[in-house]
Structure formats: C-alpha cells, structure tokens
C-alpha cells in the first residue's frame, strides 16, 4: 500500500468553501473588467471631474461604514456558529441583514437626489450645457453601483435563507459561506468608493 500513502487529500478546504472562493474569483473578474473600462475612460476625459463633484462623499462613506459593520457582525455570527450558539447567530446575522437594508436605503436616497438633478445616463441637461461626455460618467456610475447593489440584495437573500436554517441548528457551516460572500461585496465597495466618490 505504499502507493496509497501518496494520496494527499485537501481535507483542509471543504468543498463549499472552495466553491465560494471560485465564485468570488469569478465576480472579481467581472467587476475588474468594469473598473478597468472606467479607469481607461477616466484617464481619457479629465472633464469628468465636473461630474464627480456631484457624488455625495458623505453618503458613500456612510455606506462603507454600514457595509463594514455588516461584515463585522457576520464574523461574530461565524464565531457563534463555530460554538453552536444559535441565539447569537440569529442576533448577529439579523444585524447584518439590517445593515444591508440600510445600505440600500442610503443608495436609493442618493439615486433619487442625482436623478432629480437631471444627472442620468442619458442626461438632457448635460447635453444642453454642451457636455457630450458627461452622461457617460453617470452611465458608469449607475452600472457599477447598480450591479454592486444587486449583489447586496443577493447577500440579504442569502443571509435570510442561511439564518432561517441556522435558527433550527441546520447547516451551520453555511454561515461562513454567506459571510465570505458578504466580505466580497464589501471589498468591491472598497474599490468603488474611492473611484467614484473620493477621486474628484
């Protein structure tokens, strides 16, 4: 059986975790493609600086704080799952879900403000002002943050499903998988926030 000893199982990586890592890699390539496109256009059009003035840095930073809080409570939920403390899992994951909703509320306030100011992907206001490339910035802004917000919605759904199972003591290992996904959504925001809000 000397051949048998050559078998090296990857027992340290359970298959659920491995799959989530691969999913995260795939997501990063999608957002990476968008971010690279945005950066190329940003370098081509210095006049976009006019448009970036209208993004609300305070609300963006608040959203960052909200998402990071959700990540933190997610980690606490994971720690509780390792110790099989069901009450604490419910508590911490609920806070994460609330953070997700807060993020979305914030985001929709921002969108409402910008759209009411006529800053859309096809802005007539900018056209009239003689700015033919300005609405492209808003196109990128809406697609990038919109795709990210879609991921936050998915994160809320995932957390709700996992919470519902963990409440009954089932599939506790999925808490970790959900939190990994949440961290990814978080990290993407860490890239989007400076690109769209800080770099004026």
């Amino acid at each position: 059986m000397s051949q048998y000893s050559q078998f090296i199982p990857l027992k340290s990586v359970p298959q659920g975790r491995l799959a989530i890592w691969l999913l995260i890699a795939g997501e990063f390539v999608i957002f990476g493609g968008l971010i690279i496109c945005y950066l190329l256009y940003r370098m081509r059009y210095p006049e976009w600086a006019e448009q970036t003035k209208h993004t609300n840095t305070f609300l963006g930073a608040l959203n960052m704080l909200v998402l990071l809080t959700g990540s933190y409570t997610g980690v606490r939920a994971h720690a509780a799952a390792l110790n099989k403390q069901l009450n604490k899992i419910v508590l911490w994951m609920s806070i994460s879900i609330i953070c997700g909703f807060l993020f979305l509320i914030n985001k929709s306030l921002e969108y409402a403000h910008e759209i009411s100011n006529g800053l859309t992907f096809n802005s007539q206001k900018l056209q009239d002002a003689g700015d033919s490339v300005g609405s492209l910035f808003w196109s990128f802004y809406y697609i990038m943050t919109g795709l990210h917000a879609t991921h936050v919605i998915v994160g809320i759904i995932v957390f709700t499903v996992i919470l519902n199972q963990a409440r009954k003591g089932k599939n506790l290992h999925r808490v970790e998988l959900g939190v990994m996904y949440w961290h990814m959504v978080d990290i993407i925001w860490i890239f989007l926030f400076p690109l769209l809000y800080i770099a004026k």
Partner: protein, 575 residues
C-alpha cells in the same frame, strides 16, 4: 463539517421524470448537455447550408428554404457563428464531456454539487430557448456578425426604436441575454468541475495519475472563469446601450466601439483554447489506448497546456490588427501569437511520439483521432500566417480567415466530439455501435470537410470577403476558378451535412438494436471502464483505490496482459 464523499447516501431515483429529466446524476446531465448541443448543431448546420447555397448560386431559390434576402444572409451568418461556438461547442465539448467523464474517471459517485449541476443545465436550456426565440421577433435575430461589434449591434436598432420594450425584445437584445445566461450556466458548471476534481478524487488518484482529459477540462474551466468576466461586463454594457440608450460604445457621446472589441476578444481568444484543450485530452486518451503505449511525456503535456493557458490571455488583440491598433502594439501581439504555437507543437509532438512504435489499432475512434491531428495541423499552421500582422492586414475578414477558423474549430468540436462519441458510447449506453457505418461516417465527413474549406483558402487569397452575400455584383473579383471553388465548397458542405445522417442512423439504430457492450471493450486502464456498462447510479459497486497512472500500457512488469486497470496494483517483477 461536511463529508467529502458520500458513498451510500444515494438512492437511485425511480420515476421517469426524476430519472431522466430532472436528474442530478452527472451522467444524465452530461447526456442532456450533449443532446441539446447536437440539436443546436442541427440548427447551426441548416443555417450554414442556406447561406452556403446562396453563395454558390446567388439569387436562385434555395431548396427547403426559398429566397434569401441580404438581411437574412447577415442574420444567418451571425447566428451560425454564435450557435456553433457558444451553443454547440461549449455544451458538447466542455459541459457534456466534463459531466460524463470527470466523476467517473477520478473514481467517485457524482459531482461535488449535483443540484447546482442540474441547475446549470436548465439555465443553459433557457438560454437556448431565448436564442431560438430571437429568430421570430420583428426585425429578426442579431445580424451584426458573430462578434457582435457595435455600432452594428448596439445603436442601429435603438435609433429607430427608442421604446424600451420593443428594444428589449429585439433580436440583438435577446441574443445578448441568451449569451449572458449561457455564461452563468458554464460558470456554475466550471466551479463544479474544479471542486469535484480537487476534492473528490479516489484514494491514490494523485494529480499526476489523473487522465489527461480531466486535467484539460479543469485547465479549460479555470481559463473560462478568468476570461469570461470582462465579456460578461461588456455584454451588459451592450445590452444597456441597446435597451435604455446609454452611450458606452457610442463615439458621439464619449464612448468607444473598440472597447467592445477588446472585451470580446479578451474572452474570445482564450475561448478557442478552452475548447481545444478538452478535445486534445480526448485525443490523448484514444491515441494511448489504441497504440497500446503510455502517452509520451504525460507531465510535459500537462505543463505545456498550463503554459498555453497563461499565454492565451495575452494574445487577444491579434483579432484587431485592422481596428486602428498601434503598430508597436500589433507587433507585441503578433509575437505572442506565434509563441503560443510552441506549447501546442510540443503537445502534438508528444502525440506523434506516442504513435511511434506503438501497435496501432485503427478502430473508429482512432480514425477520428488521427483525422483530428491531420486537420488541426493545417488550421494551426495557417494560424501562424494570420498571427503575423503584416499578412493579416491583407486577408482580414476574407475567406482565408473563414477557412483557417473552420480548420481549427471543426476538428476541435466535431472530430474531437465524434472521437469521444465512438470511444465512450459503449460505456454510457451499454450498446455497441456499428463499425462499418462508423468508418463510412468518418471518411465522408473527413473528405467533404476538406472539400468545403480547403478551396476557400484560395478564394480568400483572391480577396473575397465573408460578409458579401452576392459576388455577381463584383465580377472583377468573382472570376473563373473562384466561381467553381464556391460551388465545390457548397456541394461538399451539403455532403458533409448529409453524411451526419449516417451518424444519426447509427446512433439510434445501435441504441435500439445494438449488441450489448462488454465492460471494457478497448482494454483501457482508466477507471470508467472498470465498472458496468452503463454505469449504475453512483458509478461503482465498490469504490476504487488507484495504484498507478492512467496510461500504463505494455509495461515491462506486465507478464501476460498489456494493461492493468488503475484500481489493481502493477505486478512487481522482483516479487
């Protein structure tokens, strides 16, 4: 926390619906993928027949179709390309082969995530339906070429139809949505393949004992995951340009159509290698078994394909030599393209060396495998011409490119698939195919394929462009040898399509009336042949332990047989 292999938790499903339709068994999913892909190939083949006939006999009504308008010509060439690459090659070569082979060749019961596997098939089927539906909307399906370059694919429709719903249900938008769904399905499949291969190998199945085809499928899945993101983003941007009127690809509003070319080819070029690698893996299996020799330089083949995977994402702009690319940049991509032929030359050399001195058996799968090597060689060599930017500028978009492309993709998708089909059919159906019909199918396909595309090299060099439906309007380019060449190509293409009915007949006849297959008809040592034909639910009665590599044929320590199954130890000479 969770079991790495569940060997006894499964009960075979009972009812017809859960057994054959909504099944999460990897074999059923693989067969579903393969059959769907072949059905789509029938659609793509019919489109090819229609516009091929139109090219040889412009203006005359086409049997089984009627008159072909110029708009329909554009639509048909576009959809032929899209269907054949994304809805035939991907499901048949990646998903079909991967689902059928990976779990059973690494000695486990099923995929790591069987439900995800089933979902990936249903998402794929949905994308097929959306694609086919695009033919029946007002305005017809996408007609901007299979690469979907804007502005032909983006603003043309939007400008005349600013209404959101009309734009959403236009052919262009539906094709883009179908494309996105297909990518999602393939990503789910790819994650499944990689996790299965890493986590569920049988005891003793070390990485360097895994069959080449499993390696290749995994490398292809990683490449696909890496390359597909940008084009996914690009497709979403294109959809928004179409539907809500953003200007990502519209120069008047600051966008840039070249951006889409980059995003598309960053995926599109690796895609060719995503398809090529699994096909090469199939050929490796077959050549080794029917030469009764270990595959030459197994590890080198694996390393070379890893090298080609890395190189493949650095050469995409060789598709854009006429898109106003800086010549210094063009040289970089030209050199990269020529370098990428080195790993594949190495892999082909290994296959030749495997044949060298082997006791070759010309069974039907072996014929397809040898045919693959011969045909792909011409495709690869003409690829070197096209990779050089100085030459490419002259033949870009001509029939030379068409011929080259089909000389690479036809062997990858069809010769590779048929080799796999004739090789593994007895295993997965338990029936034997008719050998005479198989050989007839091979020779007819082989000759008529070469008849179709070899002549087109000359038409391309004479300057004929692929997107022109009626060359009678350009008599100076359409002169005598080339008129005949077009007809030769068309008649050969019709024979090519007709000879597939032999395959269809053989398939159905053998399924019903074929002789019962033995468990290991080819005396192969890999694990899938060491179980029943067809394999039971869960694949193995007792789970195998692997003792040696996948290709240990005719080893010196073997006394009376020339192979030992992977789940039995090699006899030691000294003991």
């Amino acid at each position: 926390m969770e079991p790495s292999t569940s060997t006894h938790a499964h009960h075979p499903p009972q009812s017809f619906l859960s057994k054959y339709v909504f099944s999460s068994d990897h074999k059923v999913v693989g067969i579903q993928y393969t059959l769907t892909g072949l059905a789509m190939a029938a659609v793509g083949g019919f489109l090819a027949y229609v516009f091929r006939y139109n090219l040889a006999y412009p203006g005359s009504p086409i049997p089984l179709f009627g008159e072909l308008s110029a708009q329909q010509y554009n639509e048909f060439v576009t959809c032929h390309g899209l269907i054949m690459v994304l809805w035939v090659a991907m499901p048949v070569i990646i998903s079909g082969l991967g689902n059928l082979l990976i779990p059973i060749q690494i000695g486990t019961d099923d995929m790591a995530f069987p439900t995800l596997n089933m979902m990936s098939y249903w998402v794929f089927l949905l994308s097929c339906i959306i694609l086919l539906a695009s033919f029946f909307v007002p305005g017809g399906s996408a007609a901007g070429g299979w690469t979907m370059y804007p502005p032909l694919s983006a603003n043309a429709y939007h400008n005349t139809n600013p209404d959101f719903w009309t734009a959403l249900f236009s052919g262009n938008s539906l094709v883009i949505i179908a494309l996105a769904l297909e990518f999602v399905s393939m990503l789910m499949g790819g994650i499944n393949f990689i996790v299965t291969t890493i986590n569920k190998r049988a005891p003793g199945m070390t990485p360097m004992r895994v069959p080449v085809v499993v390696w290749m499928l995994n490398i292809a899945s990683v490449m696909f995951m890496f390359a597909v993101g940008p084009v996914f983003a690009g497709a979403v941007l294109l959809l928004l340009d179409n539907v809500i009127g953003t200007g990502f690809y519209d120069p008047a509003r600051g966008g840039d159509p070249i951006l889409f070319e980059h995003l598309f080819w960053f995926f599109g070029h690796p895609e060719v290698y995503v398809l090529l690698l699994p096909s090469l893996g199939v050929i490796a299996e077959i050549i080794s078994v029917f030469s009764r020799k270990p595959i030459f330089a197994y590890k080198t083949i694996i390393y070379l394909s890893l090298v080609s995977a890395v190189l493949s994402v650095m050469v995409w702009a060789h598709h854009q030599f006429v898109s106003g690319i800086d010549p210094r940049m063009a040289t970089f991509f030209s050199v990269g393209t020529i370098i990428i032929s080195i790993p594949f030359a190495g892999i082909f050399l290994s296959y030749m060396a495997t044949l060298w001195g082997g006791s070759i058996r010309f069974t039907v799968p072996m014929l397809w495998a040898i045919g693959f090597i011969g045909v792909f060689l011409i495709g690869g060599l003409t690829g070197l011409f096209l990779g050089s930017n100085t030459f490419d500028i002259y033949v870009h978009g001509t029939y030379f490119v068409i011929a080259h492309f089909h000389y690479t993709l036809f062997p990858i998708v069809f010769l590779g698939f048929f080799a796999a089909f004739y090789f593994w059919f007895p295993k997965f159906t338990g029936k034997t195919l008719n050998v005479t019909l198989g050989k007839l199918h091979f020779w007819l396909t082989f000759f008529s394929f070469n008849g179709t595309f070899f002549v087109l090299f000359f038409n391309g060099l004479a300057g004929q462009h692929r997107r022109i439906n009626d060359y009678t309007l350009f008599p100076s380019i359409m002169q005598e040898p080339y008129i005949t060449f077009q007809k030769v190509a068309t008649i050969s293409a019709i024979i090519l399509i007709l000879s597939q009915f032999i395959f269809l007949f053989n398939f159905i006849y053998s399924l019903i009336k074929g002789k019962k297959a033995v468990n290991n008809p080819w005396n192969s040592s890999t694990l899938e042949w060491q179980t029943d034909s067809p394999p039971p639910h869960g694949n193995f009665h007792t789970y195998p332990v692997v003792y040696h590599g996948a290709y240990d044929y005719s080893m010196p320590e073997m006394k009376e047989v020339d192979f030992v199954p992977q789940n039995l130890p090699l006899e030691k000479k000294t003991i």
